[in-house]
Symmetry: C2
DNA sequence: AACGTTCTTGTAAACGACTACAGCGGCAAG
DNA sequence: CTTGCCGCTGTAGTCGTTTACAAGAACGTT
C-alpha cells in the first residue's frame, strides 16, 4: 500500500510518448497543441498521476503552506480566529499548519526560528505576550509574517489589532446606561497583551463615566478557575456589575454568584470580553464585547497573502472595531423584583 | 528581507573548505573526525545555516508533517482531540496540518485524495459520517491513515473508537441511581457516526434499566440551537431527567429549562455527552459522559506514528473507555425542596 | 616492504518537477 | 527557392539535500 511507488512526471511522459517538459507544460496550462494536451491528459488519468508537492516546492521555492501560531489550540478565545484563518487560507489554495506555543514564549520563538527551514511560506502569530525576544524573532524572520496584537509602533510589521479600549468603553457605557454604577473590573495578568490593553481601556472609561470610582481586581490567569478564585473577593465588595477581561473569567464569576445565590442579572450584571461561542451557550447568556476575532483572523490572513504577493509593500496595520453583544446577563433588573 | 537568499549546504562547504557530503554527514550525526566537526559547526554558525526542509523532504521522501482532519475546527467537541493530537505529534518531531472538511463529505474526500501529492506523511481523520465514499477514499490512500470512529469491522484500518454504548449506560445508571425514572433521550441526527452509536447505546440501556420506558427525540443537529428547538417538545412531556447525545444539545435544553423556570437539577437532571470544556464552565456545571476524546486523539496519533514506523504491521483498533464526570446538573434533588 | 584493515573524505548521481534554450517544421513574404 | 518568423517540442540544467561508491590516508601485520 504505502510501498507502491507513485507515478512520476517522466512515467507519464513515457506513456504519452512525449517529453517531460511537455507534460509539465500541459499540466501548468502553458501553450500546447490540442493533440499534445489530449495525449498527456489521457496518460495522466490512466496512471492516476498527481504532481509531487515536495519536488514542486523545492523547484518553485514555495510550499503553499502557512502557519498559524496560537498560545492554545483548545482555548475558545482562539477558535473564532482559527476558523476564520482556516477559511481564508484554504480559499487562497494554501494549507494551514497549526502550531501551538503552549503559552510559552520560548516555544513561540522556536516556531518562528524553525520557519527558516522554509517549510512554510509565511506565518500568522498571536503571541500571548509581546516581549522583546518575540519581536526580535519576528524581525530576523526571513518570511512574511503578520502579528495579531499590538507591536510597538516603531516596528515595521504587518499587524491586526483589536481596539480593546473601545470595547471596554462600549461595555461600560452599556452598564451605566442600564443603571449600574458600582462596577468592578476583573482583569487577568497585566503583563500580557490583552491584560495591558484592557486595563488601559478600563482606566479611561472609569475616569470618564464613573469619575474613577470603579474597583480593579487582577486574576492570576485568564481562566475560569482564576475567575472563581478572585470572585470571592470581588463579590464581597458588593458591586452591581462586574466587567471581566475575558469570558472565561466571567464564567468563573457567574459560578460563584450562582452558588452564593446572587441572581444574574437581577442582582448583578456580568459582562465578558471576547464573545466566545460559550457566551451564547451558558444560562443566562453572557453579554460580551466582541473584539472581532473572526474579522481579525480573516484580516491577518489577507494581509499575509498580500505580503507574499508583494514582499515590498509597506507594513500595514489593521484595526478591527469591537461591538457589544447584549445577552441576558446584563439586561436591566426586572421590574417588580427586589 | 524576504529577498536575501538563504545559505545552502554548498556555501557552508565552501566556507569550511570541505565537501558538501561532509557537511551533510556532520549535520546528520554520521561519523566524522573531530576536526571536521568543529570546522563545519563553525561555518554553519557563522552563516546561520538551516537545512532546507523542502529539499530534504524531496530527497528523503518524508515531510515530517501529519494531517488532522476534523469537521469543524471551532467546535468544542474537537478541541480536546486537537490538543492531544497536537501534543503527541509535536513531541514526535512532526508538524501538524489542520484541515477542516467543513462538515462536508466531499471536502473530506478531497483532502484525503489531495494527500497523494505527498505533502504529508500520514493523516488522522475524524469523519462526521462514515460513508462508503469516505471508506473508499481511505482505502485508495497510499499513505498511513488512522480513523477516529468506527469503520466496518471488515475494513482493515487503524482506528480509535469511543465506547458510546458504555458511556450512555454509565449515564443512565447514574440517573437511575439518583432516582430519576422519567428519562428522555435527546439525540442528534441518527445518520451520523455519533448519532447511531449513541442511539444504540440508549436503546440497550433503556431496555435494561427502564424496561423500554424511555422517550426518544431527535434534534436536527448536534448544536445548541437544535437542542433549544427540540427542548420545547421534550419538556412538554415533563421528564425528570434528560440525557443528551452531546453537550451542546444539553446546553440548549438547559436554556429552555431556565427560561421556563424549571430548576436544574432540582426539577430536572441534565446529562450531556463529550464532557467538553464548556461543561465545567456553565452554571450549574453539566454532568457529562467523557468519551475520552483526549485519550483517543493521543492514541490515534500514536497509532499513526507506529504505522509510519512499520507500514506492514496489522491494522489495530483501540477502544477507549468512557467515564462519567458528575457535576451539579444531575446531583440529587435537594432535601427539603419541593 | 608489501599488504590488508579501518577510518575519513570527496565525487557524483540521485530525488521529481520546472524552465531556459535550442531545434524543428511550416508558412508567408520576397 | 531563399529567408525569416512563429509556434511547438525536446534536451538538459537546476533547485538543495542525501548517499552509494571509491579514493586516499593511516596504521598494524607479516
Amino acid at each position: 500500500m504505502t510501498l507502491s511507488a507513485r507515478p512520476t512526471l517522466s512515467q507519464v511522459a513515457d506513456l504519452a510518448g512525449v517529453s517531460v517538459a511537455s507534460v509539465s507544460r500541459v499540466l501548468n496550462g502553458l501553450p500546447a497543441s490540442r493533440e499534445m494536451t489530449t495525449r498527456v491528459r489521457a496518460a495522466v488519468d490512466s496512471l492516476g498521476y498527481t504532481p509531487d508537492a515536495r519536488a514542486r516546492s523545492l523547484k518553485v521555492g514555495r510550499t503553499e503552506q502557512l502557519v498559524l501560531v496560537v498560545p492554545d489550540v483548545g482555548n475558545p478565545v482562539y477558535t473564532g480566529l482559527m476558523r476564520a484563518v482556516a477559511a481564508v487560507v484554504k480559499d487562497a489554495g494554501y494549507r494551514l499548519l497549526l502550531s501551538t506555543g503552549n503559552s510559552e514564549v520560548a516555544e513561540e520563538i522556536a516556531i518562528l526560528d524553525g520557519l527558516s527551514s522554509g517549510y512554510a511560506d509565511g506565518v500568522i502569530i498571536s503571541p500571548l505576550r509581546m516581549t522583546e525576544p518575540i519581536l526580535q524573532a519576528l524581525q530576523r524572520l526571513r518570511h512574511p509574517a503578520v502579528v495579531i496584537g499590538t507591536p510597538p509602533a516603531a516596528v515595521p510589521l504587518d499587524a491586526v489589532q483589536a481596539d480593546s479600549a473601545a470595547g471596554v468603553q462600549l461595555a461600560m457605557q452599556h452598564l451605566v446606561d442600564t443603571d449600574r454604577h458600582r462596577i468592578a473590573f476583573v482583569n487577568g495578568p497585566v503583563d500580557t497583551v490583552p491584560g495591558t490593553a484592557r486595563q488601559r481601556g478600563f482606566d479611561r472609561a472609569d475616569e470618564r463615566l464613573l469619575a474613577g470610582a470603579g474597583r480593579r481586581y487582577a486574576a492570576a490567569a485568564f481562566t475560569v478557575d482564576a475567575g472563581r478564585d478572585i470572585a470571592e473577593r470581588v463579590l464581597d465588595d458588593r458591586p452591581d456589575a462586574v466587567l471581566c477581561a475575558n469570558d472565561l473569567l466571567a464564567f468563573g464569576v457567574m459560578r460563584v454568584a450562582h452558588s452564593r445565590g446572587i441572581r444574574v442579572p437581577d442582582d448583578l450584571a456580568v459582562v465578558g470580553i471576547d464573545d466566545t461561542d460559550l457566551a451564547a451557550v451558558v444560562s443566562p447568556g453572557l453579554t460580551s464585547v466582541n473584539l472581532g476575532s473572526g474579522e481579525r483572523g480573516a484580516a491577518a490572513a489577507r494581509l499575509l497573502l498580500a505580503r507574499i504577493a508583494d514582499p515590498d509593500r509597506p507594513a500595514e496595520r489593521v484595526v478591527v472595531d469591537p461591538w457589544l453583544t447584549v445577552r441576558e446577563s446584563s439586561t436591566p433588573a426586572r421590574e417588580g423584583d427586589r
